[in-house]
Symmetry: C2
Subunit: 203 residues, 2 copies
């Protein structure tokens, strides 16, 4: 399986280069576990969902601790048939989820969120989960939305996506569980997400 | 069918509110044809793909004409089974594409790109096309990538997405054709895209 993300950080300040460069320091602890390649539009990160989502979370939480309004866009993908198998992406959660009925996966997902770390940074996030290559894909999506509503981070349903709010630790754990526990364990699943912090807009 | 987008504009300048508000003026000609609702994270636009993609294009092209580095994230969706049917989203291109073999759809898509307007604004854009709810979804995606390579706007393939570059008129026409001519005409198809202009990064 191949697992990874294209990640872009957008600080809404004239010093955006400074915020991005200091934000990238948050990736240092993860560089041994992930393949990381940056071009002028996004940063590719490839690896297992443990370090992968932790790295994305810490990148955004670090930028969100600074005063400027900052957003992030991430395209997450697992199991794309067009990508080569990569042993560094091996994931125990997917191995366990294989063949597990939906209610058990929902319960495991909630348990994982309860033990998420508290990072002390409140963020907003909205995302869409896409289950590809199978009929009845909406059953898994509705099952995921039920989990989101019970997660403690659910804010509201929107057209095409679900809106979360909470501490970055809990919100990104919810995201990781949505990515791993819904859709077939060996199938092609993607997430399109945006995160936001320090927005001056009324909430 | 229900067709729409969640759109977010990100100007990398301390005057981001000014750029966003003046950018929103570009939507004025389209307000009669689209349902437009803004919250603190994104703007929902619902309607037929003609005015919908034109409005998104003009919003971004207007912001890109200003000097600041600006990016945009858009989640596009058609035919989501969870959304109600909306007569304002009726689309002749989808009616024609229904049952048409892939080579014919590729030829029609290329013809549409050749008559795209030139807006005089060069932009970068990368996107992922997701075909949901059917087996063999990669056939349509590979068929779309062949069209992108022939479109005159193809820059490179990346993991999880394809990178385009060119005039905003051509690039957004390529995007509209990818959205409408690939994947089943009556099915659930989404696009996750980011656009960028005036980046200080080496290209």
């Amino acid at each position: 399986m191949f697992i990874g993300a294209q990640v872009s950080l957008y600080p809404m300040t004239s010093d955006f280069v400074g915020v991005i460069l200091s934000g990238l320091e948050a990736l240092t602890p993860y560089r041994a576990d992930l393949r990381i390649e940056t071009d002028d539009m996004s940063t590719l990160m490839v690896g297992a969902p443990g370090p992968l989502i932790d790295a994305i979370r810490d990148l955004f939480a670090g930028a969100a601790r600074q005063p400027a309004h900052v957003t992030m866009h991430v395209t997450l993908s697992r199991g794309c048939p067009g990508e080569p198998d990569d042993p560094s992406c091996r994931c125990d959660v997917l191995a366990v989820a294989q063949g597990q009925p939906l209610p058990e996966r929902q319960a495991e997902a909630l348990k994982s969120v309860q033990s998420a770390p508290n990072l002390g940074v409140e963020i907003d996030l909205q995302f869409s989960l896409y289950v590809l290559g199978q009929d009845r894909h909406m059953d898994e999506i509705y099952g995921c939305i039920d989990f989101l509503k019970a997660s403690g981070t659910f804010l509201k349903s929107k057209n095409f996506c679900t809106r979360l709010r909470g501490d970055a630790g809990a919100v990104f754990e919810v995201l990781r569980q949505a990515f791993l526990r819904f859709g077939p364990a060996e199938g092609h699943v993607t997430i399109d997400l945006t995160a936001s912090a320090n927005s001056p807009s009324p909430r």
